[in-house]
């Protein structure tokens, strides 16, 4: 029994001591927690873990970086939950669409007010990218990378079906139909893959069809998301889903990269990181790229990208150093090698970036539009997904679902 008590005592003592030990160790070095959504087994994550962080730690003795990878949607939720749990990281890589929401919660540091050398740091980055961090006259982040989506198509499949790369939406509809069907094994193939039904996925269609999500001021949705052009885009999309031309957003579908790599999806709309991913997992697949087909609204893709932001609870000095490092020429050039388009002016001029052929993406960015930059976007996006699901399953017509959604959005935008 003595031993029993002893074990218990030791264990309790350990539980008490652990945090103390941790605090002791922290006395010598500062650890910055950095959350991101580079996927865990990607080239980007390897560059981050094996190249960038070691380089940063060597440059800045006394600062350690604890990088934590979350899945994209989970990162958003974790930040919101942790804000209440006082467990926020110091720095996070945030989707540009999240910043208004985080800013509204009051968890972000206004960098232009707090950092004396903010002007110098932001001056090295593209002004257009920096504008994503500007909310209510203050800058809450540094731009980290930018992107947009373009069409990736499987060359062999288009050739076999005798289909030209679609340049217009009408041609695209035909192409999706012709590319869908069965392959030699009798397996179903689809002309188009769309991995989700969120704004990131459907916006390019709405815009290219000439529609809009909200008015210019982002204060009203009725007449826009349920306007004729947006409804037509959604009807067209849902029609192709029902015909068996589009899939990818269902739980049982083949994941996007695997399906494209194994010739089950002929086309997809994806960002610059896809090239590195395909080169790693399916090096044999021959593919080409093209801008999103033009409709009545032109060829309009969606503007993506990430900013790097600092939270209120951060160790500001160390966090700022890390943010400047990540947006510096060296880090941006390294990340450019695995599909992250830099926003650092010097990195953009480097040979690596010029060799990486981001031209089609940079061209797409010129005409791309941003998702609504409002604090309620995440909630609006959830509503959009539910509405789109009702349309593709035939539960509601596109007009009904969008009318309901518009009313819901109007309330959120007030």
């Amino acid at each position: 029994m003595r031993t029993f008590t002893k074990i218990l005592a030791v264990m309790l003592a350990c539980m008490m001591l652990l945090p103390a030990c941790a605090a002791l160790a922290e006395g010598e070095t500062v650890t910055i927690n950095f959350w991101h959504h580079y996927s865990a087994q990607s080239a980007e994550n390897e560059t981050l873990m094996n190249v960038l962080i070691p380089a940063f730690e060597a440059e800045n003795p006394g600062i350690k970086v604890n990088a934590v990878s979350h899945e994209w949607a989970e990162l958003h939720d974790k930040v919101l939950v942790s804000a209440n749990a006082n467990a926020l990281p110091d720095v996070a890589r945030c989707d540009i669409a999240w910043l208004p929401e985080f800013q509204k919660m009051g968890i972000l540091v206004a960098l232009d007010e707090e950092m004396p050398d903010f002007a110098e740091a932001s001056g090295k980055l593209l002004p257009s990218a920096m504008s994503t961090a500007l909310i209510g006259g203050h800058s809450y982040a540094l731009a980290l990378n930018t992107n947009s989506k373009i069409v990736f198509y499987n060359k062999a499949m288009l050739e076999a079906a005798g289909v030209e790369v679609p340049a217009t939406m009408d041609a695209w509809i035909e192409a999706v139909r012709q590319l869908s069907g069965e392959n030699a094994n009798g397996q179903q193939v689809w002309g188009w893959n769309e991995p989700a039904l969120a704004g990131w996925n459907i916006c390019p269609f709405i815009w290219s069809f000439g529609g809009a999500l909200t008015n210019e001021d982002q204060t009203a949705a009725t007449g826009y998301i349920n306007g004729p052009a947006a409804v037509k885009a959604i009807e067209t999309f849902a029609g192709l889903v029902k015909e068996g031309g589009i899939t990818g957003f269902n739980a049982g579908d083949i994941p996007m990269t695997d399906g494209f790599g194994t010739g089950r999806y002929a086309m997809m709309l994806e960002g610059p990181w896809k090239s590195a991913e395909l080169a790693g997992a399916y090096p044999d697949v021959a593919y080409g790229t093209a801008p999103i087909p033009a409709g009545e609204g032109g060829s309009v893709s969606v503007l993506g990208g990430e900013d790097i932001a600092m939270f209120n609870s951060a160790n500001r000095e160390a966090a700022w150093k890390f943010m400047r490092f990540m947006t510096g020429e060296y880090a941006e050039t390294e990340m450019a090698k695995c599909g992250q388009i830099p926003v650092n002016k010097a990195a953009l001029e480097s040979d690596t970036v010029k060799a990486a052929d981001y031209a089609p993406f940079i061209e797409a960015i010129q005409t791309a539009r941003a998702r609504p930059t409002v604090a309620a976007w995440s909630e609006m996006d959830n509503g959009l997904q539910v509405a789109l699901n009702a349309v593709v399953t035939g539960e509601k017509t596109a007009q009904e679902a969008m009318d309901e959604l518009a009313a819901q959005w109007d309330a959120l935008l007030k």
Binding site: S39, E74, A85, A87, N185
Partner: protein
């Protein structure tokens, strides 16, 4: 007589046949998991799909990746620390409560026991919101050891319930003898009750181990750092990258996670059955 024998043989044959079919159904998913973990990721979408990989295609590369490239050993260690701490604390606290509640019966202890039992009815996950708030206030979010008090609190009702049944069956004379010798409560608990109740404690501990080893919702909610993740969250995290699921890695990690559990189960089978049936037969 002969006809009766033939009927008996036929009935036995039918039993074995049905049991064999059942066994195949029970094990197929697990075998498929193991077989998937042994093939290269590229072969996962081969056509036609195969239940067993081709002999030439067998590979241990998924295991190599998990053991060398991922933080598996860290996740494993985290799970071991949390599970062992949970069962040690639960055994100490649960047996002490069971001893008092089982051997010093009064109105008060009866009410207390009833109260503890009632909380067993509430599904654990329903309390995740207030428990998260509590963890926040106590600063237990994103701390590995912060999982332990919650796990212990969850398993205490069951542990107390099980061990109490055993304590009650300790013959009164043994304790009487100790009292007459002038022993105090503490001595009787440690010298008499604990050794006699050790089989019950062992079987409870196995169940508690399983609970802590596989717990997912709570750990996934409060743990952020990848170096603090326990095995279930680590596996789910591997799966999470939805555009590109590497099933080979997922299942290699799953197999490695299941090995200790299966070993414990096979070697401690007796305690398992004992623990399960004690609750049900008593009703």
């Amino acid at each position: 007589m002969k006809r009766k024998n033939a009927a008996r043989i036929r009935s036995a044959a039918l039993r074995y046949l049905l049991l064999a079919v059942g066994t195949v159904i029970f094990t197929l998913p697990m075998i498929y998991m193991i077989s998937t973990s042994l093939r290269p990721n590229g072969a996962l979408y081969e056509y036609p799909p195969r239940f067993f990989p081709r002999w030439e295609a067998l590979t241990a590369e998924n295991y190599g990746y998990i053991l060398h490239q991922s933080k598996f050993y860290l996740n494993f260690l985290n799970s071991v620390i949390v599970s062992l701490s949970t069962i040690a604390l639960a055994a100490a606290i649960g047996s002490a409560m069971a001893f008092v509640l089982g051997k010093f019966k009064s109105r008060a202890t009866g009410i207390l026991f009833g109260f503890i039992i009632i909380t067993m009815i509430i599904p654990g996950t329903t309390m995740i919101v207030p428990q998260f708030e509590l963890a926040t206030r106590l600063g237990l979010v994103n701390k590995l050891w912060g999982l332990i008090p919650f796990y212990v609190a969850w398993v205490i009702p069951f542990s107390t319930f099980m061990i109490k049944g055993f304590m009650e069956n300790i013959p009164g004379e043994i304790m009487e003898a100790a009292w007459i010798d002038g022993a105090d409560v503490w001595t009787v608990y440690t010298r008499v009750a604990l050794p006699l109740a050790s089989p019950a404690i062992a079987s409870v501990s196995i169940f508690n181990f399983l609970t802590a080893w596989e717990e997912y919702p709570w750990a996934n909610t409060v743990i952020n750092d990848s170096s603090k993740r326990t095995l279930p969250i680590a596996i789910a995290g591997f799966f999470g990258q939805h555009q590109f699921t590497q099933w080979g890695y997922v299942f290699a990690m799953s197999v490695l996670t299941l090995i200790p559990v299966v070993l414990i189960f096979i070697f401690c089978q007796k305690f398992f059955v004992q623990g399960l049936t004690a609750g049900s037969v008593k009703g």
